[in-house]
């Protein structure tokens, strides 16, 4: 079984190399024998890697412990979902998954291609398949998931208990898929440069791939934040850890890219900028992969030092130097055709937003890499909080202002209407906060800005619905649905802006106003935090030699109202020195009650029947749930942007009556 898996990967590697050669030398799409067979090779690679993936997953599910990867990351007592997710628990498996995702991209590019329409395809596919070959090479020569042990152990080591969380099922694969998907827009850009076809063609092909990759990366980061909140047990969800930053930087850059693509498509501007951005996205993804696999920075996410740091560095260098070379070669075709008419235009606002987002990404990158250049330098979280966060607040404000002004020149009446209504709403909320006794300007300003953006987005949508209703004499319900259907990208975008503003409110509330208490309680004792009281009832445990869980049972009250039982847990696992906490959280829209169990000892050392006193960290974290709600809205908005245009559109309903 292991041999079969390895052989399919060898064949896939050979086939990807052949396909790259055939695509480069095969000339234009569908014109030569070489080109037609290259397409078949791409499909073959997809099938081969899929077979390898199925073999590894089957080996994991059927406990083939003679395969080292299966031995290292799984055991017989693991539940099905963790067995499935053990696939990406280690370096070898996650690289195989990444490589599989790229082969799916290649496959989709081939089958979705319409004859005669895609002159960019051969080089695009060549870049995708070359990246695919690179990842297969890593799996084959550096980190083989099918490597065998010289004996067959009866049970495996099991998964690191830190990874035992539902987040494990979603966080790694969404991030890996997002990273893999960005190969395609990058490949379109390279192909456009080589073919010297730098009009909007590559932008329109790359758009949906970019939106999907951006969405996967964004949602993957949010799931990771939720995981950190629920598992790591310090009440935080984002620590500006180098690898978290490595996920954030390409996401920020691609956010800028998605917006500047719109400007190129509509107005022919930002050509050089767009190419530069997608190259930066791809390069920073490889940089992240390089950092995770080298030991130059320290982080909770690293795999420890592997021999893969050099190959990833090499790929990053080739991508960067090659792209810069191509850009210089084609610089004459990258001249902007756009003149910006007014400071108060969408072009100007998009330019400014791009500038700020890229600035935030550059600062994050600098802060992340700085410790690598100076052995003893440390960058604290406050560096990022004081530099990146204010810039992103400014971006949220721009998002609110930007949608109130149209392309080229603003429509004065509409501008006044939305500005007044959303400004009033924002000021009303601010007044409410001030009356409630909140005085921290660094909390009030972000909330003011976020409320402004949420309300202005809704107002613009409502006013569009109103105009559509008048213009096409539809009723309000039909007008609101049809409006969104007529321009999913635009209204999906508004929804994403609302999502980001909701998340910003959650981040501000939870980072400025969280309350934390430590306590050591004996059974029956109660502690209070804000208006909550928590009574520690007893300590229970269950498990065997391999794995044991100990949990405290607490009754939580808010005032006199009984909220329910809460059970913070600590897990002991044979593959792990020490124990891992699992936090008990009572979620609500206003604030979370968050309890982590830090340890215990007998009340009386000589008489264990008197029970155990236990140490707790209890937090009240306001508005954290808004972050996860915002994440959900982001997913819906992103999918709306991604969804293809409907086919049933009548010509009269396409396009927006306002623009």
């Amino acid at each position: 079984m292991a041999e079969l898996g390895y052989i399919t990967l060898v064949l896939a590697f050979a086939a990807s190399l052949f396909s790259v050669a055939a695509l480069i030398f095969g000339g234009k799409e569908g014109t030569s024998w070489l080109n037609r067979n290259a397409r078949k090779l791409v499909i073959a690679v997809f099938i081969l890697v899929t077979v390898a993936v199925v073999i590894l997953e089957t080996a994991i599910l059927t406990h083939h412990f003679e395969i080292r990867y299966v031995y290292q990351y799984t055991s017989k007592d693991m539940s099905l979902i963790y067995l499935i997710s053990a696939f990406w628990a280690g370096n070898a498996g996650s690289l195989l998954f990444w490589s599989w995702m790229i082969s799916i991209c290649g496959f989709v590019l081939v089958i979705r291609q319409r004859p005669g329409k895609r002159e960019l395809t051969p080089y695009t596919l060549a870049v995708v398949m070359a990246t695919k070959a690179f990842f297969t090479m890593l799996v084959l020569f550096f980190s083989n998931p099918f490597a065998r042990l010289d004996h067959a152990p009866s049970d495996g080591l099991g998964m690191n208990p830190l990874l035992e969380n539902p987040g494990m099922l979603l966080h790694p694969p969404t991030l890996l898929a997002g990273w893999a998907l960005f190969t395609v827009p990058f490949a379109f850009a390279v192909s456009a440069l080589i073919n010297n076809k730098l009009d909007n063609t590559w932008i329109s092909y790359a758009r949906r791939w970019t939106v999907m990759a951006w969405l996967l990366l964004g949602v993957g980061n949010i799931i990771g934040a939720w995981w950190a909140y629920a598992v790591l047990g310090w009440g935080g969800y984002w620590a500006w850890d180098p690898i978290e930053n490595a996920g954030l930087i390409p996401w920020l850059l691609s956010t800028a890219f998605i917006h500047s693509m719109v400007v190129q498509k509509r107005r022919g501007g930002f050509k050089l900028w767009n190419i530069t951005l997608i190259v930066a996205v791809f390069t920073t993804i490889m940089l992240g992969a390089f950092l995770t696999r080298s030991d130059i920075l320290q982080s909770v996410h690293t795999f420890g030092r592997t021999q893969m740091d050099l190959p990833f560095f090499g790929l990053m260098a080739v991508a960067l130097v090659g792209s810069i070379g191509l850009i210089i070669w084609r610089r004459k075709s990258l001249v902007s055709e756009m003149n910006i008419n007014s400071f108060l235009s969408r072009e100007a606002a998009f330019l400014l937003a791009n500038f700020l987002i890229v600035g935030a990404a550059v600062i994050t990158l600098t802060g992340t890499l700085a410790p690598a250049f100076s052995e003893t330098l440390t960058i604290e979280e406050s560096f990022f909080n004081q530099s990146v966060v204010p810039i992103l607040i400014a971006v949220i404000l721009l998002a609110g202002l930007c949608i109130t002004i149209g392309w080229r020149r603003p429509d004065a009446r509409r501008l006044r209407f939305t500005l007044i209504s959303s400004g009033t709403a924002a000021l009303a909320v601010t007044a409410g906060l001030l009356i409630a006794g909140i005085r921290e300007w660094y909390a009030i300003i972000p909330v003011l800005v976020s409320v402004f953006t949420i309300v202005s987005s809704i107002m613009v949508w409502l006013s569009d619905v109103h105009s559509r209703k008048r213009a096409l004499s539809e009723n309000y319900a039909a007008a609101s649905v049809n409006l969104v259907r007529s321009n999913r990208a635009r209204y999906g975008g508004y929804l994403v802006h609302i999502a980001i503003a909701i998340m910003a409110i959650g981040i501000v509330g939870s980072s400025v106003y969280d309350v934390e208490e430590y306590a050591i309680l004996t059974p029956g004792e109660t502690m209070t935090i804000k208006d909550y009281s928590v009574t520690y009832d007893n300590l229970l445990g269950d498990g065997d030699d391999g794995r044991m869980e100990v949990w405290a049972v607490l009754s939580a009250y808010k005032g006199d109202k009984y909220l329910g039982e809460m059970k913070p847990v600590r897990v002991f696992h044979r593959s792990y020195d020490g124990s891992v906490g699992r936090v008990a959280i009572r979620y609500s829209l206003i604030e979370d009650l968050y309890i982590s169990l830090s340890g215990w000892e007998p009340v009386d050392k000589d008489d264990h029947s008197k029970g155990y006193q236990a140490g707790f960290m209890v937090e009240v974290n306001p508005l954290v749930t808004w972050i996860w709600v915002g994440g959900g809205v982001l997913l819906v908005g992103g999918l709306l942007c991604y969804w293809p245009r409907g086919k049933r559109q009548s010509p009269s309903s396409s396009g927006n009556p306002q623009s």
Binding site: Q298, F303, T376, E381, I391, Y518, V580
Partner: protein, 135 residues
């Protein structure tokens, strides 16, 4: 003419961003000591808060129902090798022990030297989770 206006605006914003980053850098960055350096400099440091990087020695203990942690921080040299034979620093920490704290892990501790030569940490930052890829 218009382009000049935009160039001017862009420059202003660029300077603002750089200014913000420099300000944040001044308050948000620091240097950490190795164990050997910290022991060497101990008398000069007095009560100032510092960061020390090292490796957790075997035999770390918790007390106070898991909220007090006591361990020895071993020196790690510039090449990343642990030096168990060189003098270490005894660290006291009160708070939530990080989930991935264990023997052999590289950690950064932040705090002050106590009068009795031990180090009172207000923060323990775990790093380098070699466990994700066992050798």
């Amino acid at each position: 003419m218009k382009n000049k206006r935009f160039l001017f605006g862009g420059t202003i914003i660029g300077i603002a961003i750089i200014f913000l980053a420099v300000m944040a850098f001044q308050s948000g960055s620091g240097y950490y000591y190795t164990v050997a350096e910290a022991l060497h400099e101990k008398d000069n440091l007095g009560q100032s808060s510092i960061r020390i990087q090292g490796e957790v020695a075997p035999g770390h203990q918790t007390s106070g129902a898991g909220q007090n942690l006591f361990f020895t921080l071993m020196h790690v040299d510039d090449d990343g090798n642990t030096c168990p034979d060189e003098p270490g620093i005894e660290v006291n920490f009160t708070g939530t022990v990080p989930n991935n704290f264990e023997t052999g892990r590289h950690v950064v501790v932040e705090g002050r030297f106590d009068n009795d030569d031990s180090f009172n940490a207000t923060k323990v930052i775990t790093a380098c989770a070699s466990r994700y890829e066992p050798a």
